[in-house]
Amino acid sequence: MGKFIQENWNSRMGAILAVAGSAVGLGNFLRFPGQVAQYGGGAFMLAYVISFLLIGLPICWAEWTMGRYGGRRGFFSCVGIMHAVTKHPMGKYLGVLGIVIPVIIYMYYVVIEAWCLGYSFNFLMGNAQFSTAAEAEAFFVGFTGLAGDGSAMGFGASQVGFFLLFCFILNFVLIYRGVSKGIEFFCKFAMPALIVLAVIVLIRVLTLGTPDASQPQNSIINGLGFMWNPNKVVVDEFALSPDGLPGELIGTTEVLGRSFVEEARARAELDPALQVREITIGEQLKRPGLWLAAAGQIFFSLSVGFGIILTYASYLRKEDDVVLSGLAATSANQFCEVALGGIDHHSRRRSLPGRGQRCRWHLCPWVYGFTHGVLTDWPGAPFSVFFSSFLLFLAAVTSSLSMLQPGIAFLESALRINRKQSVAILGFITAVGCMFVVYFSGQGLKALDTLDFWVGTFMIYILATIQIVVFSWVFGIRKGLQEAAYGAQFSIPALYGWIMKFITPVFLLTIFFFWLTENIFRYNPLTGQRVEGPGALDQLIGANANIVAQLSVLLIILFAVFVTIIVNSSSYYKTLSHTEED
C-alpha cells in the first residue's frame, strides 16, 4: 500500500479558474447559443437569469460549502463528503453517483475532445477545406466513425485514433501531477488562453458582414437578431383549399431584418397562403417548455450535480472563502457562455451556408452542434475555424480533467493507494470505456448517445437533487449557511436559506418530472400528447431493443457496482473524520 497525502490548491485564483474551467465546456459555446435561438432571445434570457438565481447559484454554494467541510475532515470525494455531511452509515452510498457520473462522462467526453483537437489540426494543416455542406458532412462522418462500428479506430489525420491517444495521455499526465501542479497549473494558462481565443473568434465573426452576397438575409446582424430579438416575426404558410382559403399549416419561417419583414408582409398581402404574425416576449414566456429549457441549460452548464465541485472544494483550507469563490467561478462560466458563446457561435452558424444540416440525427447537443459552422469558404478561414475548434479543445480539456479527479481522490482514499496506482486503475477503466465508445460509433454514435442520456442527464438530475436536499434538510440550512460564512468576505443572503430549502428542490424535481415523462415515457404532460419516436426504455427492452444501448447501460451498472463494492469494503468510511476536526 502506498502512502496518501492531502493536496491543496496553490492559490485561490487557481482554485477558481479550475472550477470555472470545469464548468466552461462545449455546452457554453455550442448548446447555449442554440437554446437561446430556439426559444427566443429575450424571453429565454429572462428565464435563464431566474433559473441561475434559483438553481445554479444555490447548488454551487451548497457544493462549495459541503466540499470544504468534507475536505477538512479528510474526505476528498463525493462518497466521503456525503458520509461526513450526513453523519449516517448510508450517507456514503449517496455519494456513489458522484464517482460514477464524472468517470463515465469522461469516457465519451474525451472522444469529443479528440474531435476538437483533430478538427483544429486538420484546419491548420489545410486538410479540411470545405466548400459545400456535403464535403463537411463527409469529413465528419469519416472522422467520428459514423460510417460504421470500428471505422474511427485508425491513426491517420482524418481519423480520431491519434488525437484520442494524445488527449488521453495529456489528461492523465496532468492528473498524475496532482491538483496543484497538474490541474491548477494547466487551468491557469488554459482559461485565459481560452478567453483570448474566444475574443479573437468573436471579433472575426462580428466583422464577417454578409459572407454570401447571394443571400443578403444571412448576414451577421440578422444572425444576432435571430438569437437576441425579444419579439419574433414569422411567416406561416398554409395549404389552400379548393375555394382559395387557407387550410392546413405547412410550415413556419422566421423572418429577420426590417427590409425582409416588409418584403414578407407585401408578399403575404398578395398571397392568401401566407400569413405574417409577430410573437411577443409575453407570449413566449407563457410556454412552460421555455422555462424547462432555460433551467436545464443553467443546470448542465454550471456542472452542478457532477460531484466535481465537491471534490475541488475539498482541497480548500478552512479559512478559504467559498461564497465569493463560488460566485466567481459561476460568473466566469456565465461570462464565457453569454458574452462570448452567446454572440459568436450561433450568429456565425446562422449566417453561413449549409447550416442545420444534421439536426435530424437527434444526438446529444454537443454532437450535432459540433458539425455546424465548419464550412471554410468564408473570408478569414481556416485560421478562424482553427482558433474556434482549438478553443473548444481547451474548454474540453479543463472539463475532462475535472472529471478524473473525483475518481482519483476516491480510489486513493478508499483503497489507501498512491497516485501511480490510482492513475493506473482509473486509466485502465476509462480506456476500456473509451474504446467501447469509439468502437460503437455507428448507428448515429449510439454508445456515446446512450451514456450521455443515462449518465450525462438522468443521473446528474438525481445527484443535484440529493446534494441540495442533503445540504438544506440533513446538514441543516442554518448550519450550512454558518459553515459557508466562515472565512467569507460576504455572507450568502438570508433569503437564499429559504430558496435552498424549498424553491430549489421543488424547481429541480419539477424539471426532472417533465424530463422523465417526455424522454422516458414519451408523454408530454403540458400538451397531453404522446411524443413521437421510441423512448429511452424502448431501446433497452422489448422489440426495439438495441444491443449497443444495452451494453452501454451494462457498462454503467458494472462500474456503479465496482464503486459500491469498494465503498462497502473500505474501512476509510468507518469514521466521520480523519483530522482533528469534529
Binding site: 496553490n10 437576441w228 430579438n229 465569493l324 466567481a328 460568473s331 468576505q489
Partner: protein
C-alpha cells in the same frame, strides 16, 4: 436586429461581464489570495514516498 434585440444582447453581455469582472477584482484585491496563498510546494504521493525512501537509505 431589432432595437429590443440590441437591448437584450447588450444588457445580457454587460451584466455577465460586469459580474465576472467584479468577482475577479474582489478576489484579486484580497491580500495573498491571488498567488501562493498556502506558500509551499506540494509533492505527489509518489514523490513523498521516494523522498522518505531516499532518507532512510542515507
Amino acid at each position: 436586429m431589432s432595437t429590443g434585440g440590441w437591448i437584450v444582447m447588450l444588457v445580457s453581455v454587460i451584466t455577465s461581464t460586469a459580474l465576472f469582472g467584479w468577482c475577479i477584482w474582489r478576489v484579486a484585491r484580497t491580500p495573498k489570495a491571488s498567488e501562493k496563498m498556502h506558500g509551499f510546494e506540494f509533492e505527489t504521493p509518489d514523490e513523498t514516498e521516494q523522498n522518505q525512501l531516499d532518507r532512510s537509505n542515507l
